[in-house]
């Protein structure tokens, strides 16, 4: 599978994944380090309470994880879909033995890579935050779960993305999904403030399962589409 990803995307995706994790780690790491050094109040929850806002750091963290998970899927799986637009019209890919299967496996490989990146991103953030005592270690799995769910969410739209021929239609499709994502984010926003930890964990699990099933259906259908397209 790694070989298939490398054949069609020439290593770019691996670099993208590593780069994203490194950038986020640096960004948050330096941000918190500066914050601590400047003598500002390191305890964000206290600060939040002082400001009289109702948003807890847990809520912010989970929403951040959702957004980053979706971004990683968009950057990595999106680039794999983009590669389909390019290779579909080029002859080289089809001169390779079982090119359709190979491409499907590269698509699935990129998806897995994007999920791993999503988990790694939320992992890095939560690790940094726990290091600076901004969040409880208990919240780490919750952040990872929501990050994974939102990266799975992107996978649902790859099937329509693949077969959409015009750039405008793709743009429209992405807009609709972004709208959908913001709806999920607001739902999470409300949920994190009202629900208990256990219920949050369960609902995160259900969300992951649902998006996971959607992602699998969409991926299988995408592979069929690629196969049909390349054997015509």
């Amino acid at each position: 599978m790694i070989k298939a990803v490398r054949i069609f995307n020439s290593n770019v995706l691996f670099k993208t994944a590593v780069l994203m994790v490194v950038i986020i780690a640096l960004f948050f790491g330096t941000g918190f380090a500066l914050g601590v050094n400047a003598g500002e109040n390191a305890d964000l929850s206290q600060q939040a309470e002082q400001a009289g806002e109702e948003i807890s750091p847990e809520t912010l963290n989970i929403i951040m994880s959702c957004v980053l998970g979706y971004i990683s899927a968009m950057a990595i799986t999106g680039s794999a879909v983009n590669m389909f637009y390019k290779t579909d019209g080029c002859k080289y890919a089809r001169t390779i033995k079982n090119a359709d299967k190979l491409f499907c496996s590269s698509l699935v490989g990129s998806q897995l890579l994007s999920h791993l990146t999503a988990i790694a991103l939320s992992g890095v953030i939560s690790a940094i935050m726990t290091l600076f005592d901004c969040t409880k270690a208990l919240n780490i799995p919750l952040m990872m779960l929501f990050s994974l769910a939102s990266s799975l969410l992107f996978d649902i739209i790859i099937r329509p993305l693949l077969s959409t021929k015009s750039g405008n239609a793709r743009f429209f499709l992405l807009l609709i999904t972004l709208f959908f994502v913001s709806a999920v984010v607001s739902a999470v926003f409300i949920a994190t403030q009202t629900l208990s930890y256990q219920i949050l964990l369960i609902s995160g699990g259900i969300l992951t399962l649902a998006t996971g099933i959607g992602a699998v259906i969409s991926t299988v259908s995408s592979c069929r589409y690629i196969r049909r397209n390349w054997l015509s």
């Binding site: 290593n11 390019k86 080289y92």
Partner: protein, 301 residues
């Protein structure tokens, strides 16, 4: 004579605009075959089907002596392909091509690829920041050719390899053809298409002349040159000669055209002079003949 690829009543149907075949061709093993025809004659489609890039509608293909599919066994590993355009994704750089191909094909030799490119005046170092879409047509063609020649193959299928090359580079390409054929000692073959055979006259052993999705004539070039004859005569002899000629073009001062060699004596008796055709003369006349037949068939309908 053994064949490397054999097409048995191969048919490809597109929506309604164009259809290919039924085509029967036996590409001889150990030789280079030229597919000659006008634009839109079906050369590219035919090559794409052979390489498994496009699916056939009907018919049978045998690869290296066994009937089957391009995805069977190591067939695709043994066939090198070079498209006239749109071979690699446009955003790729030369190094992306090298990396991808070294993963996709066991017989791909990266060192050889870069050496070939340097030999064709496309040093990879100089162009490492440029994507293929930023290179000129000729440059892209050379990258494509180098990628095909850098593999360990038994058959090369090259679509219009000479079209975007300068005369000097085309001459070197012909030399590379002969090197390839010679290195295989009768086991390596080339199939290439061209609509300008004059430049590659001495690189074609076997010729397949195609018109409008059908094969007009095929055979070893020397046999074809023996079969047909080019005629030139005074225009006032048109009435006697035209019946013996396959194609006949007549101007105020000269009558010329193609005839079968078996009629040579009769033609000469009517005062015509004859010469052995070159492959490009032959192709032009045979394409005229095919066009003439097609026109008369359509007129009958």
């Amino acid at each position: 004579m053994e064949e490397v690829i054999k097409l048995d009543s191969l048919i490809k149907k597109y929506d309604r605009s164009f259809s290919l075949g039924p085509v029967n061709i036996a590409f001889p093993k150990g030789f280079s075959t030229a597919l000659i025809g006008a634009n839109g004659a079906g050369k590219t489609t035919l090559m794409d089907i052979i390489c498994g890039i496009t699916a056939k509608t009907d018919g049978e293909i045998s690869y290296f002596g066994t009937a089957g599919d391009a995805d069977d066994g190591d067939t695709k590993e043994r066939i090198g392909y070079c498209a006239s355009q749109g071979m690699f994704p446009a955003g790729w750089k030369i190094k992306d091509v090298a990396l991808s191909m070294s993963l996709a094909f066991e017989g791909f030799d990266k060192e050889r690829f870069f050496a070939l490119l340097a030999g064709m005046d496309v040093p990879a170092d100089k162009y490492k920041r440029k994507s293929l879409s930023q290179l000129s047509d000729g440059m892209r063609m050379r990258v494509c050719l180098a990628s095909a020649f850098a593999r360990d193959t038994d058959l090369l299928v090259l679509d219009e390899p000479g079209a975007s090359l300068d005369p000097l580079m085309r001459d070197r390409l012909c030399e590379r053809f002969r090197d390839y054929i010679d290195s295989g000692n009768g086991k390596k073959s080339i199939i290439f298409s061209t609509h300008n055979i004059a430049d590659m006259e001495n690189s074609a052993d076997y010729a397949v002349i195609m018109d409008n999705g059908e094969v007009t004539e095929q055979g070893f070039t020397e046999d074809l040159k023996d079969k047909y004859i080019i005629i030139s005569a005074e225009p006032d002899r048109k009435d006697e000669l035209s019946g013996l000629m396959l194609t006949c073009s007549c101007s105020a001062s000269m009558l010329s055209g193609l005839a079968l060699c078996e009629n040579k004596e009769k033609l000469m008796a009517h005062g015509a002079v004859t010469e052995r055709p070159t492959l490009s003369q032959l192709s032009v006349e045979l394409l005229k003949l095919a066009e003439k037949r097609r026109m008369s068939k359509e007129a009958q309908k």
